[in-house]
Symmetry: C2
C-alpha cells in the first residue's frame, strides 16, 4: 500500500475535488471556504466543513503556491541559530508568523554573504511572501535576485535609514553612548572599552565609536583595548581584564563589547582579587541568559531581540495587505542594572 502510494504520484490523495464531491459543491467553492469564507453561504460552509473533517483533508499549499505565485511562507537568514543573540528573534518571528498561517523557512549564514546568497537563492525557489535578512551587507547577486523577485525585503538587527528595504533595528552607536554615560553618571572617570575578538563584528565597532565619542564629549580620554583576534570571546575577556588591570593606571570601569567578553572579564577579575565593582565596574552588552547568574551579576545593555522578530513578522504580514508599511523601525535598548556596575 505504501509502495503504491509512492508509485503513482498523488494516487488516492484527498484533494480539493474530493472534498467538493463529498460536499456537493464545486472545487472553487471549497477553495473559497478556506480563503474567503465570507463569500460562501453558511449552508455550504457547513457541508464543506463536514466533508473536510470526515476526509481529514489537508490543503496542498504547494499547489496553492504555484497557482497564486506567492506562498504563505517566509524565508529568514540569520547569522547563527544557536548563539545567544538571535534565538529570540527567530522565536518571535516564527511564532508571530505561525499565528497568521505563515510558515518559516530558516537558514544560517555564519556572517558569510556567500552563504546568505545561496540561502536566498534556495528560498526564492519556494516563492516566499517575503524575505528577512540580518544587517544590510549582502552580495550584489543577492540584492539583484530579491529585486527581480519583487518581494518585500526586511533588514533586521541594523538600522540604515538611507537604504530602501524595511529596517528594523537599533543604534549600536547609542549603546556605546548609553554605557559610557551611565558609568560617568555613577562617578567613574577612567572608563575603558574592550573590543570583540571576532573579526567582522562591525556592530561592535559602532558601539565602540559611541563610547569614544561620548568620552571625548565628556572631556575624558577614550581607552580602547583590542584583544588578540580570533580568541574565543570568553578567553579574550579574561585576557583584556588581566592586561588592563596590570597597566599603569588601571581603569575604574570597563565596557565590554558583549556579555561573553564581560563574563571572561568578571572571572579573571575575581581570580586576580579585583573587587567588582569596587575596584573596577563592568558593563556588558546582550543580556545573555547567564548575565543574572554570574557573581557579581552582570550589568548589561539588552537589545530588543524578541521585539525585532515580532516586529519583522508584523511588517511582513502588513506588507502583504494593502496597508502602508512603516519602513523605518528604530527600537531601543535597555540598560539592565545589576551588581557589576
Amino acid at each position: 500500500m505504501s509502495e503504491d502510494k509512492r508509485k503513482r504520484r498523488g494516487a488516492g490523495r484527498v484533494t480539493l475535488n474530493t472534498v467538493a464531491r463529498h460536499a456537493q459543491v464545486s472545487a472553487i467553492t471549497v477553495s473559497r471556504y478556506f480563503n474567503q469564507p465570507d463569500q460562501v453561504s453558511p449552508e455550504r460552509r457547513e457541508r464543506i466543513k463536514a466533508a473536510v473533517d470526515e476526509l481529514g483533508y489537508v490543503p496542498n499549499l504547494v499547489a496553492g503556491g504555484l497557482a497564486s505565485a506567492r506562498g504563505r511562507i517566509v524565508g529568514m537568514v540569520i547569522p547563527n541559530i544557536s548563539g545567544p543573540i538571535f534565538a529570540s528573534t527567530i522565536q518571535g518571528f516564527s511564532d508571530t508568523l505561525n499565528r497568521h498561517g505563515y510558515q518559516l523557512l530558516l537558514a544560517s549564514s555564519y556572517f558569510s554573504v556567500e552563504q546568505e546568497e545561496s540561502a536566498v537563492r534556495a528560498f526564492l525557489g519556494w516563492s516566499p511572501a517575503a524575505l528577512v535578512l540580518t544587517s544590510h551587507f549582502h552580495s550584489e547577486a543577492t540584492e539583484k535576485m530579491i529585486a527581480e523577485a519583487d518581494i518585500p525585503l526586511i533588514e533586521t538587527w541594523d538600522y540604515r535609514p538611507e537604504r530602501s528595504p524595511i529596517q528594523i533595528g537599533f543604534s549600536h552607536f547609542q549603546v556605546g553612548v548609553t554605557a559610557a554615560r551611565y558609568l560617568h553618571d555613577k562617578g567613574y572617570r577612567r572608563i575603558a572599552f574592550v573590543q570583540n575578538s571576532a573579526a567582522g563584528d562591525f556592530s561592535a565597532l559602532e558601539r565602540r565609536d559611541g563610547y569614544s565619542a561620548t568620552m571625548t564629549e565628556l572631556g575624558l580620554e577614550p581607552q580602547v583595548y583590542a584583544p588578540q583576534e580570533g580568541l574565543a570571546p570568553f578567553e579574550a575577556g579574561k585576557q583584556a581584564m588581566q592586561a588592563l588591570m596590570a597597566s599603569e593606571r588601571p581603569p575604574q570601569a570597563i565596557i565590554f563589547a558583549n556579555d561573553n567578553l564581560a563574563a571572561g572579564g568578571l572571572l579573571a577579575g575575581q581570580r586576580a582579587g579585583v573587587k567588582i565593582p569596587g575596584d573596577c565596574a563592568v558593563v556588558g552588552f546582550g543580556d545573555y541568559p547567564f548575565a543574572e547568574m554570574l557573581m557579581p551579576s552582570l550589568t548589561t545593555i539588552k537589545p530588543p531581540a524578541l521585539e525585532i522578530g515580532v516586529l519583522a513578522a508584523t511588517r511582513v504580514l502588513e506588507s502583504l495587505g494593502e496597508v502602508e508599511v512603516e519602513r523605518l523601525n528604530l527600537l531601543e535598548c535597555r540598560l539592565i542594572e545589576r551588581e557589576s556596575a
Copy 2:
C-alpha cells in the same frame, strides 16, 4: 512595472521553458540538467549552463514539488527555539540539510501537543520529504496525519526502541546513573537530587529515576527535593540549595535536573557561605553555554545536542535514497568535569 508583475501571475518570469528556448533544447532536458545531469550530453549541458547564467534562472521549487509530489523541504517541530538546549540541534539539522539542497521548515510547540499538531498540519501542506519531531509524545491526529502522508518520521531527544519511527536520542535514565556513580566514585555518600520546577519535563524525571536506582543499588538512600512548581528554574535552584543546606543532615553533593537549577544552587550556596565543592559538590545537566563561566565552573553532563541534529538530517537524507536506514540511534552523553564536583 512592479505593479504589473504582481497582477498577472508569473508574467515575464524566467521559467524552464525560457531557458530551454535559449539553449535550444526541450524543457525536460533542462529539468534533467538540474536533477540528473549525467543523463544530459556534455555539449548540451554547456549550452544550458550558459542560458541559465545569462537569464539568472532560479528553479521554481514549488512547481517541482507539485509535479513530483515531494518537495526538497523538511519540517522540524522543536519545543522551543531560544532555549539553550535545542538551538544546537536546529543548527546542526539545518546546516546538514542545506548542504544537500534541502530546506528547513521550523516551528515550535512549547511542549504542547496541540501546537505540535497544528505545525505538522501546516507542514504537511508543503509536501515535506520528512518530518522531525521532539520526543515520542504526540496527539493521535498528528500520528494519523503523518501515517497517511506516508513520509519518514524521526523522533529526537528521546529513545523508544519500541516505537516505529526512527529514534535519535540518548538515555535520560543513564544520565542519572552516570551522575550518581561519578559522585559516589569521588567519595560522596549523601547525594541529593533536585527536580525541575517545570511541570511536564518528563525527561528530567527519568534522570531522577536513574539517580534513585543507582543510589539504591549502591546501598545509599536517595533524597529527592522537589522545588515549588512553576518557579523559574534559576530561582528554584536557589530555593533547593537553601532548603537542603538548612536541613538536619545536609547533602555532601547535589545533582540538579538541569544547569539553570544548578546555577541557582551555586549562587545561593556562595551567598550562604557554603563552599563548593568543599562543603557541597554540584552536578548539573545540559552543559549550557554559561557552565564554564560560573564560579566555580559547573561540572555537568552534556547531551549530544548538535549530534542529534546532524544525525537527524543524515537519516532524513538516507531515507530518501534506496539505502536501508538505521532506525535506532542511541547516542551518549558526556560528563564534563569542572570545578563544582
